[in-house]
């Protein structure tokens, strides 16, 4: 690799236009000129180590964050002091929009692995949205999509048995990851069994047992965090043909 190429590479990495997540992230559907405006607003790259916080419940809203790599869990703290995970976030998703209502974050976002994000100061994003109708519409879309996702998760929690919940969760992860260019049938879960259990309203033991059970039935291959989906159709059947997108963060498409 020549010096020239190296320079180009670093240049590539620093603009929305050339970001590999371009069509997943906020810029989707913006015209070139508008993209430049957005580009100017974004504070690029910030690295967060595993178990560190991107923001915490109660933090005042300064920025929203586009995830470049890694993953996060977002959770509430209930009155007993326990966490309730409300979503896992993957690259290309926008995190932190929850705070707009109260001007402060209503949940905490913790890195599940070393991750990197683009920081977007919110006040500038909001004023930019007034100048770029398309961006305003995009933001409305993101928020309303998130509501839909949460509602689907509510449905799952309110009336689906454990098996359906887990199948639906795995299917959702598979779909989201495949959108990001990863294999649909083979991936690593960055979150613990406990985190999955918490999100789905079940006990860790039940998650573990179901995974073993899925493996016995040749639906999955489970090797610690590494999941291989062997029979997608069967999994879909168990999931009632509905994959939950438990992102609790905003996805464009």
């Amino acid at each position: 690799m020549t010096d020239n190429q190296i320079i180009k590479l670093s240049e590539l990495k620093s603009h929305c236009q050339n970001c590999s997540l371009y069509d997943l992230c906020l810029p989707m559907g913006l015209k070139t000129g508008d993209l430049d405006s957005l580009d100017n607003v974004i504070k690029r790259r910030q690295s967060i180590n595993k178990n560190n916080f991107l923001f915490r419940l109660g933090d005042s809203l300064k920025s929203v964050y586009a995830i470049r790599s890694g993953s996060f869990k977002t959770y509430l703290i209930n009155t007993d002091g326990n966490e309730q995970i409300v979503g896992f976030s993957l690259p290309g998703e926008l995190l932190g929009m929850d705070a707009i209502g109260e001007n402060q974050h209503t949940c905490t976002a913790k890195a599940l692995e070393t991750s990197s994000v683009c920081e977007i100061p919110f006040d500038r994003l909001e004023s930019l949205a007034r100048d770029i109708p398309n961006l305003q519409h995009q933001l409305f879309r993101l928020l309303s999509k998130e509501i839909q996702q949460d509602q689907n998760l509510m449905l799952l929690l309110a009336q689906m048995p454990a098996e359906t919940r887990l199948a639906s969760f795995l299917l959702g992860m598979s779909e989201r990851l495949s959108k990001r260019g990863y294999a649909a049938n083979e991936f690593n879960l960055s979150m613990s069994r406990g985190d999955i259990a918490n999100l789905l309203g079940m006990a860790v033991e039940t998650i573990s047992r179901l995974l073993s059970h899925f493996q016995e039935n040749s639906l999955l291959n489970v090797e610690r965090k590494h999941i291989t989906i062997l029979d997608m159709d069967k999994l879909r059947q168990l999931a009632n043909h509905s994959a939950v997108n438990c992102s609790n963060s905003s996805q464009v498409s």
Copy 2:
């Protein structure tokens, strides 16, 4: 009542400025000039009979609706064809924002009783939001508030026992109704036991038993749909000091 008064009354009823829900509804925080613009956009008054639909899953997004009187339930249909209620909506709340993401409604809104709404064409609202920064911010707030509410309901569904769920639901209804000027400790539930059970992910029988139980313990007085809260503190305790706002519609404050 003189003719003159009648005329004035009808005039009163037809403008946001004079609506009794003024400070609950969308106009909150807008300046007089901006209010006039909003006023011009609103198609006033539409009456919906019990069990009729305000919109249905799949309908294309034309308008959002501000509830003037009555109440609605909003629900999804799961893959087995069963409904999953995601919220109940009361006067002063905005219904239909769910549709922005896909440009079509992702849930169905059905009147629980004869109700009346103000219809607000969405395209005009969106363009108005670009001209009125405060309105744009207001809309962002509404959407993000709804996300918060849904997340709190998720927490309830994922980790709280039946008793806490119902107590929290009743507390939420009480709080919302009292904001609307009704008594906090005495109200009518417009939805059936079955609807409550569905929202909270429980069986009708459990709802019924718990209500009887609450009554035995002098927490409540239950007479069919009419609920009187006798011991608010105790109810709060059972609810873990968290009231779910299961509005699935947007509330300003």
